[in-house]
């Protein structure tokens, strides 16, 4: 069998993964091939530059000055691991002739490829995010062709012309279905691979999510919040100027992850950083309302998302998110208000209204319970001051 050159992999899989387009999933890639590709990268300059430019383009909306990126061996291995995970949902892998042992071998191979060391280096974190930022939005179009005597399903493949000929006479009908993250990566075999892969790109985990995706581990991602520019980019991306339910969806996800974090034994500094970040997100909600005609009017956002009739549809973590400033005021008041709030009187007024409204709709016991959980991790303010 002829060996595939790395430029083919870059052109047909990596570049579409970054810039969008058709990701071609072929036979699974052995580790030895990926190691060989690392040595072949010098001979694939054109494809390599195209991928790096696409990655820079992705980062250009995140930071003012995107770093100059060069695709490295670990990036290549992450991409190859993702490719092999996608082969597990390839129709060829589901044939009767593929034994469980062979499938297990592919899974092990993919896990080995994606098990690259974790990183906290800014450039590498951004490079991995640029490579995998589309992961949650990968989609596959399945086509079901039915004709007068039968039907056939094509997963991510075009049906053969033989089956679609003489449409009228054979009463051929084609139905298209788009399958997304949940069907591709939330299945038993691909789930551990994707969880391992996503842990390697915390910035992607912060910025995006899908139902069925593994939950964020704040301990892996908290270092991003210590980079002011990245933290700002994450905060602004998480609070879109759309409907109230859309505005709170992503912040609630992070607050739910914060709830889980409080159940573990995190570093106190990490708890403080995440809490301050979530309070900042709450301040962004208030900032969006400073142009309201009545500065003391109740917040339409909080009224909508905490409405009692919509209590069953509240996203997980929403209560924690909106109760957090109130709870922090009981535990460590310095964290309960974002710095600089007093310098914008209109914002301070809206913040006050938000807090009063959240306290009224959530009730005191919810805030007190969260304060109790926070006290287990945060030392009193006096102790730190000393």
């Amino acid at each position: 069998m002829a060996q595939t050159h790395v430029r083919v992999f870059l052109e047909r899989f990596v570049k579409p993964l970054v810039a969008g387009g058709e990701l071609h999933v072929g036979a699974p890639i052995p580790i030895a091939d990926v190691e060989r590709w690392d040595t072949e990268l010098d001979a694939a300059t054109v494809e390599l530059v195209a991928v790096d430019e696409a990655r820079t383009n992705v980062l250009s909306t995140l930071v003012v000055r995107p770093p100059s990126l060069v695709l490295e061996a670990d990036d290549l291995q992450l991409a190859a691991g993702l490719h092999n995970a996608l082969f597990l949902v390839h129709p060829r892998a589901e044939l009767w002739s593929v034994s469980d042992r062979q499938r297990r071998r592919i899974i092990d191979n993919a896990l080995t490829l994606v098990s690259q060391p974790l990183t906290r280096e800014r450039k590498r974190v951004m490079g991995r995010h640029a490579l995998l930022h589309n992961l949650f939005h990968l989609a596959r179009r399945d086509t079901t062709v039915s004709w007068w005597t039968g039907r056939a399903r094509f997963q991510g493949q075009a049906p053969s012309k033989r089956l679609t000929a003489w449409r009228g006479i054979r009463r051929v009908r084609e139905e298209h279905t788009d399958v997304g993250f949940e069907e591709l990566f939330a299945v038993d075999e691909t789930k551990p691979i994707i969880a391992t892969l996503l842990r390697r790109t915390p910035l992607t985990m912060l910025l995006d999510s899908q139902p069925g995706a593994p939950q964020l581990h704040w301990e892996d991602a908290v270092f991003v919040l210590r980079d002011a520019e990245l933290a700002r980019a994450v905060a602004y991306a998480l609070v879109p100027a759309t409907s109230p339910s859309e505005q709170v969806r992503e912040p609630s996800r992070l607050a739910a992850a914060f709830e889980q974090m409080l159940e573990r034994a995190p570093d106190e500094a990490d708890v403080r950083a995440v809490a301050a970040f979530l309070v900042h997100l709450c301040a962004l909600f208030a900032l969006a309302e400073i142009t309201m005609r009545e500065p003391n009017a109740k917040s339409p956002l909080i009224s909508t998302v905490l409405a009692s009739e919509a209590a069953g549809q509240r996203p997980r973590g929403l209560q924690t998110l909106l109760a957090l400033p109130g709870a922090l005021a009981l535990v460590d008041p310095r964290l309960s208000v974002p710095p600089g709030m007093g310098s914008i009187p209109a914002l301070a007024q809206r913040w006050k209204v938000h807090r009063a409204q959240a306290a009224e709709l959530l009730s005191e016991p919810v805030i007190d319970a969260l304060a109790q959980r926070l006290r287990r991790h945060l030392r009193p303010a006096q102790a730190i001051a000393v």
């Binding site: 969008g20 036979a27 699974p28 909306t61 191979n109 690259q116 974790l118 596959r140 602004y236």
Partner: protein, 513 residues
């Protein structure tokens, strides 16, 4: 008869032709006010004219005499329901003069909102209207049908009302004396013109005969007079004129009317200018006299009307001088410090060299702060246009709007100070074009289509600290789609085992720095 209180957010009503306005207040296309007497209707018009412009109601204003089934007569004023704010004012003033207000569209009018029902009322048992009834109003405890008896046009009413003497109103402040009209009898005109010219009073004069529609009015010519428009008339001269028979002093009321000094028309004439025809000028005299003069008034400067002394027996011939072709008449537009109050800042022009600073600010600001802003990148600079809160971008030359789309630097004005329409015509400015004056260089124009929403994506391609970039918008990436290639029957032959069975590294360990 039952009226039901309209609830907040209610959208369906029994009353035909009504709907909630953006504030949720029930409103038809018109508002109908009922007054027991004509004095009440006039009082309402007088009050409304003093508070707001009647011109905005004039398109649908109708004053009607109507009769009820029991034979009593009422005066009805119908106005278009421009907005619930205007309707609130109309209702408040109607209550003040003993009237009531209703809203509706054609036949049925329901009581307008009051303190008891802030969103208005809905009539829930509207039945068939008797054939003899033209329209019907639905009040709290009654339903009243009306038969139309006749119309009373507003302009006729306006000219039938007498001007009233106001005690002490002939003492005018300097602002009131800034622009006055003098009606001077024929015999006095030469003397008055000389007197004004000697006292250096700026004035223009013209001869006018009031228009008459009667073929038998032979004395209309005798009622002609000289109308002199004087500016900044000194107080002593004003008092002299007021006390001189044959001279009458008038104060302008809007662009098409003037009222005698010391008198006042019951309705503020400045608020109903659309009643006066464009080519007329009305002079309201004491004693119910209204003169209609041809307008706009064609007046000549009194400096050219003073007596000329000629000595024909000593002719002087002009000396001949050679000359060249006349210079073309053209005025150079330039910017000068503005004299008026500062205008609202709507845009900023940032030099291309400072674009990287803009990018840094853009990336530091929350998206909500940038809502409503648009950007266009040109070789003359980065133009950011906003609707409000443009102070979040403390960069570049702040620009304010002279007329829609015509931007000048803040604190500057274009001289010569021609009207914005003339300026726009001279510059070729039109809808869909933004014209920008800069302190340096010629003004430039950008089509509206060149603007994009101000967001991170708009400047994403900008390399910080590098100039000369023009196309800065990043294209959104295509959707990534998985395509499963054919791999053949033997794709998995010889596929090796993974090297290491221990797959996941321990958490937190083995980090790359």
């Amino acid at each position: 008869m039952a009226l039901e209180h309209v609830a907040q957010g209610q959208t369906r009503f029994f009353t035909p032709g009504v709907a909630p306005d953006p504030r949720g207040i029930l409103l038809g296309r018109s508002c109908l006010m009922t007054f027991p007497t004509l004095e009440g209707a006039v009082s309402w018009l007088r009050l409304y004219a003093s508070e707001a412009s009647l011109d905005e109601l004039m398109s649908g204003l109708a004053i009607t005499k109507a009769r009820t089934a029991l034979g009593s007569r009422e005066i009805l004023i119908q106005i278009p329901a421009v907005s619930s704010y205007a309707a609130d004012r109309a209702a408040r003033l109607a209550r003040l003069v003993g009237g009531a207000m209703y809203t509706g569209t054609s036949k049925h009018f329901v009581k307008y909102r009051d303190d008891r029902s802030p969103y208005g009322y809905d009539a829930i048992d509207i039945g068939t209207m008797p054939a003899s009834t033209d329209f019907m109003v639905h009040g709290d405890e009654f339903t009243q049908g009306y038969v139309h008896e006749g119309d009373l046009p507003f302009d006729r009413l306006l000219f039938r009302l007498s001007v009233r003497k106001i005690p002490g109103a002939d003492r005018l402040s300097p602002e009131d004396r800034a622009d006055l009209f003098l009606a001077v009898a024929h015999g006095l005109s030469d003397g008055i013109i000389r007197y004004l010219w000697r006292n250096r009073v700026e004035a223009q004069a013209g001869l006018f005969n009031p228009r008459t529609t009667s073929a038998f009015d032979d004395h209309a010519r005798d009622r002609g007079y000289m109308l002199i428009r004087v500016r900044n008339l000194p107080e002593r001269i004003l008092q002299l004129f007021l006390g001189t028979p044959g001279i009458d002093v008038f104060k302008p009321a809007g662009a098409s009317a003037a009222v005698a000094v010391g008198y006042e028309h019951p309705i503020d004439l400045a608020s109903c200018q659309s009643v006066f025809a464009a080519e007329t000028f009305h002079v309201f005299w004491p004693g119910d006299r209204v003169d209609q003069l041809p307008g706009p008034l064609a007046l000549s400067d009194i400096g050219d009307l003073t007596r000329v002394d000629m000595e024909l027996d000593k002719p002087r011939f002009p000396a001949e001088h050679s000359g060249g072709a006349p210079n073309p008449i053209g005025v150079e537009l330039r910017l000068a410090a503005a004299m008026g109050p500062p205008r609202r800042v709507v845009a900023t022009l940032i030099p291309v060299a400072h674009a990287s600073r803009l990018k840094r600010i853009l990336f530091a600001l929350p998206p909500v702060s940038l809502r409503g802003h648009r950007i266009a990148v040109t070789d003359r600079g980065v133009l950011v246009v906003g609707t409000e809160n443009l102070d979040v971008i403390p960069l570049g030359q702040l620009l304010c709007e002279l007329t829609p789309g015509l931007l000048v630097p803040l604190g500057m004005d274009v001289v010569p100070r021609v009207s914005p329409e003339v300026l726009a015509r001279a510059l070729g400015h039109a809808t869909g074009i933004i014209t920008v004056f800069t302190p340096e260089g010629a003004p430039f124009q950008i089509p509206e289509s060149a603007f994009t929403t101000l967001e991170r994506r708009a400047l994403a391609k900008l390399e910080p600290d590098r100039a000369g970039v023009e196309d800065l918008a990043a294209e959104p990436g295509d959707e990534a789609r998985v395509i499963n290639d054919a791999v053949g029957r033997f794709a998995l032959w010889g596929f090796p085992d993974a090297a290491d069975r221990k797959l996941l590294p321990p958490s937190g360990g083995g980090e790359t720095k």
